[in-house]
Structure formats: C-alpha cells, structure tokens
Amino acid sequence: MSQMAEARPMRHRRGTWLGALVGTSLFILAGVAYGRYTASLERLHDARARLAQCRQLADDIRRLDTLPAFAAIDADSQDATARRIERALHAARLPEDAVLRILPPAQPYRLGDSPYQVYATRIELKQVAMRQVVEFALALHDAEQGVTVRDLRLWSPGRRPTGATETWSAEVTLTQLAFSPKTR
C-alpha cells in the first residue's frame, strides 16, 4: 500500500503529462487537418474555376474556328514567300522566266493603331495571259495566312497583231496581314 501510494504522484504526473501530450497532439493534428482541408478546398475551387475557364475557352475556340481567318500569327519568311510564289506559278502553268522581278517587302506598315502589320511583296510578270494572271493571283491567295493580292496592275505592251494571243505585263502586289502587337 505504501509503495502504491508512493507511486501515486508519479502516476498522476505521468497521466497529466500524457493527457497534455495527447491534447497537444490532437490540437496539432486538428490544425494540420484543417490546413489540409483548406488547401484541398482551394484546389477544388481552383479546379472548378479552371474547368469553367476551359469550357468557356473551348466554346470560344469552336466558335472562332467557324470564322474565316484573315491574318497570320507570324509573317512568312522570305523563303516561304518564294516557295508560295513558285507554287502559284506552277498552278497557273507559268514558266519561271515569266517572273521579271520580285521585290520583297522593304518595311511592313501597321494598319492604323491595330496590332496588325502588312507585308507587301511586289511581283512583276511579263507576257502572260489574263487567265494566267488571275490563276496566279488566286493561287497566291491564302486566307488562313492572311495572304492576298491587294494590288494588281495590268498593261498591254502594245497593239498586238490581229489573231495573235493577247498577253499582258502584270505587277502583282502580294500582301500578308500578320499579327504583330506593339509590345512584341
């Protein structure tokens, strides 16, 4: 009995310490659980907002995809422009020597205060039929890349003999509209 009684304060203190330890642990665990809960709630709200944004963007993209393109995101390189001209010549069945000269864009100009710039390439053709000029111009046209023939000059070199095929000299100005914000 005496030994048991002697051990009582020790047991009591141990119980108190154990209780304090358990209580503190519970508080810490509750704090951690609450932190995890709030973080998960934040993630959930974020995921909901992102999904709503995804759906909105997807709908907008689908709607925009139904619209024709009018501009390129990036302007063609000179090589790409040259290849485009070659393809158009081929489509119009024009010989390569029909191209008298190609003048690449000296400096693009901006459309008003907009984020778009126009790159103009001048192509001079000689002794081509009107049909060929039209086919050449149509082959150059590429709305998805904002490419079109904006200017056209046709002139007859002179009076042709009766019965001779009508040929023209042509100056085709190929323009490309490219997205180019001022901040770029």
Binding site: Y34, R36, V149
Partner: protein
C-alpha cells in the same frame, strides 16, 4: 466552487471528525493505529452522510505521531530548507529523507515538527482516492496553540503547559509564537525547573513573562504556586479540540495558514481543485472527441475535395481532347487553351477599327462581270490598288465611255464620270476611276468586309 470542509483529529485513542465551523465530533475510527483504508472509508462514509461526495480535510495529528526539536541556525540558513531538514534530522530518529517536517523560524531559532513519511502517505492516498482532498496536515498541539493565539488569550512572552491524558506539553512562547516544545510525563517534578528555565529565558528576551496552566487538570493542584519558580495563572480553557477547530476553520477558509504545515513533499497527492477534476476531465474528453471529430471530418472532406479536384482535372483533359482530338495533352491545359484562343482571336476576329487590304481579285472579278458586251472597250492599262480601280483604254465614241461607267455602276462600283480624249486614229481614249464597294456581310460572314475562304472567290 468550494467543497465542504472537515477537521479530522487524531487523539490518544481514536480518530474523530467534525464539520468546519461546528464542533460536532463523530468518531470514525476507534483506534489511533487503524488501517489507512479502514480510516479513509470511515471518513468517506461520514462525509457522504453529511451530503458531501467530495470534501476538503484538515488533519490534526496527535503529539505522539509527531516529533519536535528546537535548534539554532546561522542567519540566512532559514532560506535553505534542506539545511533545516538536516539540522532536524540530528534531533529525530528518522533520516531527513524519511521525514516530512515544517519549521517555525524566529530569527536564528527554529522549532521543527516532523512526522514519518511512510506512516502517512498511505492514509493521505486512501483519502484522496475517495475524493477527500487533504488540504492541510498539522500538529494538533501547534494548531491548538495557534487557535488559542487567535482567540487572544495567549501571552506574547512566556509559555503554557497543556496537559492531556498522559503528558504535559510545555510550550515556550516568544513574540506570540512557539519557540520550544517539550513533553513531560504527568507529575514529573522536574517540570518546575523547565518552567523556571523557560521563564528566565523569556524574561531575558522580553521582560515580563506569563505562564499559563491550561485546562482543569487536577494534577495542577499538586503544583502550588510556591513550588513554581515564577508566577503562573490558571487558564480556563474549555477544550483543546475547540482551539484546533478554530485554526482548522481559518485554514479551510483560506484566512490563515497553519503554523506547521506538514502537507508537503510526498504528502501532496491531490489537488485542491480536485472537485473540478471530474468536470474538467469530462470537458477535456469532450474537447478531445470534438478534436477527433474535427480531424476526421477535415481529413474526410480533404480527401473528397482532392478526389473531386482530380475528377475536374480529368474533365479539363477531356475537354481538351474533344477540342483537339489526337493531340498530346499538355500539362497546363488552361494555359494551352488560352494560347490557342489568343491565336484564334488574333487571326479570326477582325477588329472593328481596321480596314483590311481589299483583294484585287474581287475587284477584278466584279470589274469583268460588270463589263458590257457592247460597246467594246479595249483595255490598255488596268490598275487596282486596295479597291481603287484606275482604267485606261479605248472606245469608239465618247458616249461609249459613259456606257462603260454605267455598267460598272450597275456592278456595284462607285464610278465618277470618266474622262475621254480622242486619239489620233479617231478612237477615243478613256480614263475611268472606280471605287469598289465590297459586298454587304451576311450573318454567316465575319465582321470584316472583304474576307473569303481559301479556294472560293477572294
């Protein structure tokens, strides 16, 4: 919340108890050396009978359970309790570790009272186990002397002789407090020399001293005044126990501390807030359960939220796959969609405030469509610049130029009157300017004025 208080008094023959503030003794054990559990059970039963499941107790121990000793110390030593313990150890039959003691210190004089620890720990434990909080353990005699001092008849200097059934307790008082406590067999003639010595000592300290013979003890009759070396008075003290009760009441009310407090060290087993322990434990258990519930709920909700967030993330991927079938799904789906959206906005939504380049082929198409069969027009030069048409050619007559202009107007051109000039060969040179009017956009066409799909009419 205060628990009811009781005074548990050990006498020569028994243990008795009374409620605080009253003197209604009830014997709870008929022997002073009763087993601790039996005594504790008796006390608990008594308390329950008084309507107290829990109670506060002041224990007053009989002089035969305590031992006292007086000694002198160096100034400052009173602050070191272990020094006092070891000084007292030399006067007691127990080691300092086996003793629970308290001290009355007056300057360099110390009166120490001790009990044997092993004898009392079981009893205190048994009482505490039964919800009885031992608030104070004191020497009954010291409590009686303290109680007598509280009632005002105790001399500040001198002493008193307090008899019980077997002994005389001789207590020397200095400045109203016990300085020395000795125990004598009743009728011991040497007590007179003790009193004389004490009286001389008291006088040397404070001049006049008074001595009291307490109680109505017939033995005092055998001590005529002329036998005693100093003048003594007979004090009419009703009851030793009454004075113990006075001190116990003061202790229970928290007004005074007992001069000798032996509830210390190993005898401090319970808390004075024990009555609150049950409620506190229940509150703590409730709080613990609440916290556990919170942890579980938070954890459960967190897992559910994470699952739901994962499902929504999968839904994002599904949206992307439906939009771009076969394409690799990027890590940042929203960022990629934003990028794609921005690209489409830049290339497909025509801002209202810009004039797009007008395709020359559209102008040429409408021009050719608007050309009349007659009169015949020979085109020498045709210039189309961003929707403006500049025509130089030849017609037969001046009026033919107007006919051509009219036809072009019907084809949708804005044509001012042409200029004409007769050539050397009598033909008429005509110069004509026309402004192309793009077709009105339909609901299916974009806001731009002159955009058409690849492969169609430019």
């Amino acid at each position: 919340m205060s628990l009811p208080g009781f005074l548990l008094l050990q006498t020569l023959d028994d243990w008795r108890i009374t409620p605080a503030g009253r003197l209604e003794w009830t014997m709870v054990a008929d022997a002073r050396d009763v087993e601790p559990d039996a005594l504790a059970e008796g006390v608990a039963e008594y308390c329950r009978a008084q309507g107290a499941e829990s109670a506060r107790l002041v224990m007053a121990l009989d002089a035969r359970s305590t031992l006292a000793g007086s000694f002198d110390i160096e100034p400052g030593d009173e602050r070191h309790r272990s020094t006092l313990d070891f000084e007292l150890e030399t006067l007691l039959p127990w080691s300092a570790e086996e003793t629970v003691a308290d001290y009355l210190v007056q300057a360099t004089s110390v009166l120490g009272v001790g009990i044997e620890r092993a004898c009392w720990v079981p009893l205190v434990a048994a009482l505490e186990d039964r919800g009885l909080h031992v608030e104070s353990i004191g020497s009954a005699l010291m409590m009686a002397v303290q109680g007598a001092g509280e009632t005002g008849w105790l001399p500040r200097e001198g002493g008193l002789v307090w008899p019980d059934e077997e002994m005389w307790h001789v207590v020397r008082l200095v400045d109203g407090r016990p300085r020395h406590w000795s125990i004598w067999q009743r009728g011991d003639p040497l007590i007179t020399s003790e009193i004389a010595e004490s009286a001389e000592s008291s006088e040397s300290h404070a001049g006049a001293a008074a001595w009291l013979l307490c109680g109505d003890d017939p033995v005092f009759e055998g001590l005529p005044n002329d036998v005693l070396p100093v003048d003594v008075e007979r004090a009419d003290v009703d009851s030793f126990a009454e004075h113990v009760r006075v001190t116990a009441d003061l202790v229970l009310r928290g007004v005074r501390a007992s001069w000798i407090e032996l509830r210390r060290g190993p005898l401090v087993l319970g808390s004075r807030h024990r009555a609150l322990r049950g409620g506190l434990l229940a509150a703590a258990a409730g709080l613990g359960l609440f916290l556990l519930a919170c942890i579980t709920a938070f954890g459960y909700r967190a897992v559910r939220n994470d699952r739901e967030a994962e499902r929504l993330r999968a839904e994002q991927i599904a949206v992307y796959r439906r939009l771009f079938p076969g394409k690799r799904v990027p890590v940042a789906v929203v960022a990629r969609l934003r990028s794609e959206h921005a690209r489409r906005l830049a290339s497909r939504r025509i801002p209202a405030d810009i004039n797009l380049p007008r395709p020359a082929m559209s102008v040429l198409y409408d021009f050719l469509r608007g050309m009349p069969e007659k009169p015949r027009l020979h085109v020498r030069e045709l210039r189309i610049e961003d929707g403006q048409l500049d025509l130089q050619g030849d017609v037969k007559r001046h009026s033919d130029a107007n006919a051509v202009a009219r036809s072009l107007r019907e084809a949708g051109f804005d044509v001012p009157p042409p200029s004409t000039e007769q050539n050397a060969d009598r033909s008429v040179a005509v110069r004509l300017f026309a402004r192309w009017q793009p077709p009105t956009p339909t609901a299916k066409r974009p806001a731009g004025r002159n955009v058409s799909r690849k492969g169609g009419r430019p």
